[in-house]
Subunit: 243 residues, 2 copies
DNA sequence: ACAAAAGTGTTTCATATACACCCATGG
DNA sequence: CCATGGGTGTATATGAAACACTTTTGT
């Protein structure tokens, strides 16, 4: 691992990513747990190289944790309070991990660099959870898909970030037709509806939902999907704008 | 003027403000013109002190140019392309203003500081144009309210910023009930309608508009406003949520 | 034949738009 | 009393929500 302070990063500016996935009828967020004593959960984050667009930086961070390129992502807010430091977090972390840290990891220079006040640009991303193989960073003990209703307490303002990202996602969902990024290429109407219900945390009427989706003229109807169940087989659909 | 590089600012991070006002049935933006040969228009901007929230910084910048506190403002986007530098702008500026710059203003250190790549947080603000006394900075030749349809070509991506801010304003207007920030405390229904028409650049039906606004239950009807015209006197209204 | 779930059509309601009318005001 | 513009009421169109019915599937 290269020391952040040695890299050609923009100072005091970071990116935090809320990566949304969908699985088992639940909206989930990809949350790494840090490889230290004490429970330190932190959203996937990173810094911006001098020669890199902020969107590129976000894509690089996302690719590093998900293994896939071409991810749908969007800014949702900047978090910039003056007190926004991970000084408290790191002090507690150092307290609980003295033997581990004595050796390498943080020297004073790194500690100073990383504990300064940081302004962070929040991005949210939507991924097909089946295509993702979560990647640990050197700092992580694990990285897991966590149902949005069961998020652990994360460091700093990261829980607030997720809440903000979800709010923005809900606002944009109808206008920008981005829900499909959370599904595999083909899906049934019921699966799409259950996704919407997971995102908005409320039920939708089946027939009206179908009507509304079909009238968007972005769904291409494919063959039926026979599951072996004793009922009418649903159609598969593909997201196909202007089709 | 203090040299920016000497100040305790966050490096490479700036704030640009799109300040909206309303006058003569037009939506206007407060645009300073820089005090140099050549036409350099630039949005009110500034940097963030180490001990200052980004919102506070935006308020400080806004107060400096408008003379008023308590301004409605909101983030709308971050602009962070790697090529986002005012190097070209400053080179042209120096080219055209050699005699003026020879003396003081920019030394090499300042030039280097200011021409680095900057990530900028875009804020838009809504003000009662009658309360504002536009304030020049030391760098400005003038500062004026410019109709949004007649904006000059500004430096860097500032025209794009205004377009983005307007887009966000339109999206938020109905949901957040913020249009009233652009009007004096009391106003007639027609004035409110004309404001909406200026913002959306399209006409609204008079009676339906009135109905819609009254049904929001945020307008308090006051006395009539007698203008001396030979017609029915309109009511004055005050924005009063939950009234 | 039956239960289960998918697909589609119809009615109802709320809201937005269009149309019409009456009222106050000052000359 | 008339022209002008303001306020309000009523019809129509549009879209959302609720309700009902038919079709397909495997046992």
């Amino acid at each position: 691992m290269q020391a952040p302070s040695e890299q050609n990063y923009i100072q005091q500016l970071s990116i935090d990513c809320v990566i949304f996935g969908y699985q088992e009828k639940q909206l989930k967020v990809l949350v790494p747990k840090m490889n230290f004593r004490g429970d330190f959960w932190a959203l996937p984050a990173g810094f911006i190289y001098q020669d890199e667009n902020i969107d590129q930086a976000a894509r690089r961070i996302l690719e590093g944790r998900t293994g896939i390129k071409d991810i749908y992502l969007e800014q949702f807010r900047v978090f910039g309070d003056a007190q926004r430091t991970n000084l408290q977090v790191l002090e507690r972390l150092v307290q609980l991990n003295q033997e581990k840290l004595r050796d390498h990891w943080f020297n004073q220079k790194e500690f100073d660099w990383i504990t300064r006040r940081f302004v962070s640009i929040g991005y949210y991303a939507l991924v097909d959870i089946n295509k993702v193989v979560p990647q640990k960073s050197e700092m992580d003990a694990s990285i897991e898909w966590c149902p949005i209703k069961e998020l652990p307490p994360m460091i700093m303002d990261h829980n607030e970030m997720v809440a903000n990202a979800l709010e923005t996602l809900r606002l944009n969902l109808d206008q920008k037709l981005i829900a499909f990024n959370l599904l595999p290429q083909t899906f049934t109407m019921k699966e799409l509806q259950e996704l919407y219900e997971a995102i908005f945390d409320k039920p939708f009427a089946r027939n009206n939902f179908q009507k509304k989706m079909l009238e968007l003229n972005v769904l291409e109807r494919l063959e039926k999907k026979f599951t072996g169940a004793a009922n009418k087989a649903p159609y598969l659909y593909r997201f196909q704008p202007q089709g």
